[in-house]
Structure formats: C-alpha cells, structure tokens
C-alpha cells in the first residue's frame, strides 16, 4: 500500500500539466470568480429628466446620486429619446420628474415621479427600481416629518448573516464546492482511466492485490491532494475574499473531507464506465460541470426553479455541500443543523463506491 501511494505521487509530481491543473486552476478560479461574480448593484448608470428643476427634485436627485448605487449618465433630452438611450446599452433606468414638482407637492400634496427601467435584465431592473423607490420613500418620510402623519408603522429591517449584502457570501461557498467537486472527480477518474488505457491496470489485477486495495492505493494520494487544495481554497476565501468562518473549523474540514471522499468515489465510478481517459475527462468536465453549476444553488436559488428541476437538484451532491458550507462559515451553526446534509453526502459516497465495485466485477467476468 505504501508503495502505491509513493508511486501515485511520482505520477503526479512528474506531470507538470496535472500539477498546474491541481493547484493553479483552483487558485485562479477562486480569486477570479470570488471577486467577479456578483449581483450587487453599484454605480448603475441612470438618467434623469427633470421637468421642474426645483429645490425638491434637486434634493431627491442628490440623495439618489449620493447613495452609491447610481451614477448620472448621459443627458436625455426628453421622453421621446428614452428608447434610443436604452437601445444603446449603458443606461439602466430613467427617472422623470413632472413639471412644477415642488409647487404641486406643496399645494396639492401630490406630485408624480416616473421610473422607467430597462428590464431586459430583469434582476438588475428589479434591484435598481427597488433601491430608487426606497430612496424616494426616505425623502418622503423626511419631507413629511414636519407635517406629522397621524399614524405610522415603522419597519426595522435586519439583514441576518450578511448585513452589507455582499455577494461574496453567496458565491464563494459555491465556488469552493464546484472546484472541489470537479477537480477531485476529474483527477481520480483520469488517473484510473489512464491505468486502464495503458494496460498497467491489467498487470495490477493479475497481482495478488485485491481490487479494493488497488483502488484505495490509487485514490488515497488524491484524498491528500484534494484536501490540501481545500485548505488553500479556504485560506484564500478567508484572507483574500473576506469570508467569515463563524462555526467550527474542525467541523468544516471534516465535512470537506467527507465531500472529497464522495467526489473521489464519483470519479472512480466515472472511470469504471468510461473506457478511455478522453471519455473520463469528457464525462467529468462537461457532464458534471453545467448541472453542478446550475442546479446546486450556487448562483441561482433552487426554490425559484420549476418543480421537476427542484426534484432533480436533490441528486446533485454540491447542492448539499453548499448548504453545509454556508451553515458553518456564515451562519456559524453546529453539526446538529447539518446532519441531514452530511448523511446525504455520505450516502452518495457509499452509493458510488458500491456501484463502482459492481461495475468492476462485471468487467472481470
């Protein structure tokens, strides 16, 4: 067994390409995606058509522009040109103040603002509009203060776990999961498929080693490597991306180890169903990539998907690990809250191993 592990390390360290893949890619991707993936609205370009240009509209404009969400973009000469501006691209929202805004507000206690959003990107439109109306609502509150409305219910909003609404909290757990999953499964499946392809697997099989020992010997070094990878990724997330680790670090590492074992068994399974490195690579890259990115809740919340896809997402291992990572790192929860997810991942690991052993036996028939 010791010889096996040493040999596998020789394979890995002599192959510069796989070394780069192993350690370079996760680092690049964690940093790149950790910083770049975001749905926050910051400095969104807006245009304002102010038909009054009085002290009230100017005050609202200043309030909007000092919020940090918006910057003033091109001048729009009039309502007729809005479509043209949107078609050109940059501007997300146009705000139109009706004429005589201040005096109408004073006399009729009623003045109108129109918010026109470019909703070709619905999420951004939604966010931009809700920020705008919140800011205008604020102004209204201040404005009304002097006039004292008879009755009001005030809302104290609290943003739990992520008061600054940083996108990092949403995306980094996903990036960690996806990388661990893809890299681990890919490494294992390729290294086993390589032995199959080169014929060395046959030599190993005629030896007195049991198949289980052969596989374990091959896989153990990758457990170590993947775990090292997990550590690097976690360190980067903590120190560079500013992710908290509110819960127990030991629990987080233990869960990562479990997830790695699961991904490895998936890799073993992939290698038993593919007859070349090529196919193993195809399967672990393409077949795994899109579903793990899309159906795991990494970017898109699962509960918003249609029911069949929600059901399908249950068999995606990353889905459960993302919950675990978020629970431990951000919510600071203990094992009590994630035992179910842990059990599911463990179950998947057992399932893939059992399936691989079956497949393996059939091959020997």
């Amino acid at each position: 067994m010791r010889g096996f592990i040493i040999k596998e390390f020789y394979h890995i360290f002599r192959d510069i390409r796989s070394m780069v893949v192993l350690f370079g890619m996760p680092v690049i991707q964690v940093l790149l995606f950790g910083f770049a993936l975001s749905t926050e609205v910051k400095n969104a370009p807006i245009a304002i058509i102010d038909h009054s240009n009085d002290q009230v509209t100017r005050a609202i404009t200043t309030k909007l522009l000092s919020s940090g969400f918006f910057i003033l973009s091109d001048q729009v000469p009039g309502e007729g040109h809005i479509e043209e501006v949107f078609r050109h691209g940059k501007v997300k929202e146009v705000i139109v103040f009706e004429s005589d805004f201040a005096s109408k507000l004073e006399k009729d206690r009623q003045a109108g603002i129109q918010i026109i959003a470019d909703a070709s990107d619905p999420n951004t439109a939604n966010l931009v509009v809700s920020y705008t109306s919140a800011i205008i609502g604020d102004y209204q509150q201040e404005y009304l203060k002097g006039m004292s409305l008879p009755v009001t219910v005030r809302t104290e909003s609290q943003m739990m776990y992520n008061p600054a609404l940083k996108s990092v909290f949403m995306f980094v757990p996903g990036v960690i999961t996806i990388l661990l999953m893809l890299i681990t499964a890919m490494m294992t499946s390729i290294s086993i498929a390589r032995e199959n392809e080169l014929g060395t697997m046959e030599i190993l099989l005629v030896s007195p080693m049991r198949p289980i020992q052969i596989i374990a010997g091959k896989v153990l070094p990758y457990v170590l490597l993947a775990f090292t990878n997990a550590l690097i990724i976690l360190l980067l997330s903590y120190f560079v991306l500013g992710m908290p680790v509110k819960g127990s670090l030991v629990l987080l590492l233990a869960e990562s180890l479990l997830f790695i074992v699961m991904a490895l068994s998936l890799g073993i399974f992939i290698s038993t169903v593919s007859n070349s490195q090529q196919m193993a690579m195809m399967l672990s890259m393409f077949a795994l990539m899109l579903p793990t990115i899309l159906l795991s809740g990494f970017i898109f919340p699962i509960e918003n998907m249609p029911v069949p896809l929600q059901i399908f997402s249950n068999i995606m291992p990353p889905r459960w690990f993302i919950i675990i990572v978020k629970s431990i790192m951000i919510k600071g929860l203990g094992f009590k809250y994630i035992w179910k997810e842990t059990l599911i991942i463990a179950g998947m690991a057992v399932f893939f191993i059992a399936l691989s052993i079956r497949k393996f036996k059939i091959r020997l028939e």
Partner: protein
C-alpha cells in the same frame, strides 16, 4: 508434474462461444506456445488462466489451484506480461521494480537484491535511474519481462511479448526466456511470429475457439507435412 491442467474449458459471452471445450496441460518448466489467429480466443483463455476472468464451465487448475475459488493463491504464483507494453512510463526503471516488488509483498531488501540481479542479467544496471519512457522499446520489453518474474513465480504468462521489436532484440529476448525456463519457471507464451513457435517445447494452435492442433513443433511439421510452423499454421487456417 502438470502446472496447468485444463479440461473442457468453455467461456461464453452471451451466445458467442469464445473458448469451446479446450483441453490441454502444461508441464512444469516447459516453454509452451499458445498460437492462433486474431480473434481465435487466445487472450480469453489466457485471462482465465491468470484469474482475470472466470470460465463458464470446465475444470481449470493453475499451479495446483482451482481458478473458480482460489484465484488469490494463483495470483501469488504467476507473473504476467501483457500484450501492450505496460510498465509506468513516467517512473524510473528502479521505481518500477520497487513498486511491482512491493505489490507482490517482497521485502525492501529482497527487492533490492532481485532488482540488482535482474538488471545485471540484462546489462542495464547503469540505466536504473532513467525514466522508463525515454528508453528504447526493446529495453522496455526486457524490463517488463524482468518485472514479471521479480517475485519468482512458478509460471509466467507472456502475451505477445515481442510485438514491434527488431529481430536482434527478439533473439535476445528469447535467450532470456530460455534462461528463465532453465531455472524451473514455466513459460506460457502467445505470439504472432511463427519462427518463435519453433523455440517452444510444445505448441497448440487455436481456431474459432477450439484447439485444433497440439504437439511439439517437430511432430506438427511432420504431421502436416510442412517445412516450418508457418506452413502448419497456414494449412490449418485454410481448412
């Protein structure tokens, strides 16, 4: 003493019969040639003998053990060199010996001793630090053979060991085989080169999953009235 005994071995894949009632035996210490055209069922039979695959029916004993239940015991007593040259190309010569010796449970001291001895015999001691992938094919094949006998098996299976090498290297390779056999290790070899069959003590020729001829090369030549084994083979193939 018989080291391999096969009686009525049948192997079916679905309705396809790959081995159709094979019966033969191999004596201890002999060089046994296992010939046949591509697809005749040689590799299937060899895999069964090595414990890589199990027979559908029939009696198969290797080194005194039964292939149905005692494959683990068999595996300890056999060596195997596959058709595709298959040591680890990215490991050095020495590391390959270390690894395979370890698999067969030899102690580090034993591995060192045997590696030195085997490399010495090949005259490749000075190459032991070389990465295998950088060596010429002929050397790699000799090394693969040495690795296959590092644990002193009772029998070694060679699956087309000399594919793609030049006549001189083939010649040297057979010299090593003879030397090995003289130490009491039985050699079971498949080959495409009919001239190599002449080096064997006995040969069997397979066609369509059956053994159609089995004897010493000399007897076969007389029986089929041919000048060499190639002639025998062609005559059988035409029928």
């Amino acid at each position: 003493m018989k080291i391999i005994e096969v009686e009525n071995l049948v192997k079916k894949f679905g309705s396809f019969v790959a081995n159709d009632h094979l019966t033969f035996s191999v004596d201890e210490g002999e060089i046994y040639g296992f010939l046949g055209a591509n697809g005749a069922g040689k590799t299937t039979a060899m895999k069964i003998l090595c414990g890589l695959s199990s027979p559908t029916s029939g009696k198969v004993m290797v080194a005194g053990y039964d292939v149905y239940h005692q494959t683990e015991m068999i595996k300890k007593r056999i060596g195997y060199m596959s058709q595709r040259f298959s040591l680890f190309e990215d490991l050095s010569v020495w590391e390959n010996f270390q690894f395979f010796g370890g698999i067969y449970g030899l102690s580090p001291a034993k591995i060192r001793e045997r590696t030195t001895e085997l490399l010495g015999r090949l005259g490749l001691e000075s190459e032991k630090k070389q990465i295998l992938g950088s060596l010429p094919l002929g050397w790699k094949q000799k090394l693969a053979f040495s690795v296959a006998i590092i644990h002193r098996p009772s029998i070694v299976f060679l699956d087309e060991p000399t594919g793609g090498v030049d006549p001189i290297t083939r010649r040297q390779f057979w010299e090593i085989i003879y030397e090995t056999a003289s130490q009491g290790i039985t050699v079971f070899v498949t080959t495409h080169y009919m001239d190599e069959a002449e080096y064997c003590r006995r040969v069997s020729i397979m066609a369509d999953g059956k053994i159609v001829a089995l004897d010493t090369p000399a007897n076969l030549k007389t029986k089929y009235n041919a000048a060499n084994i190639e002639g025998v083979f062609l005559k059988i193939a035409r029928n």
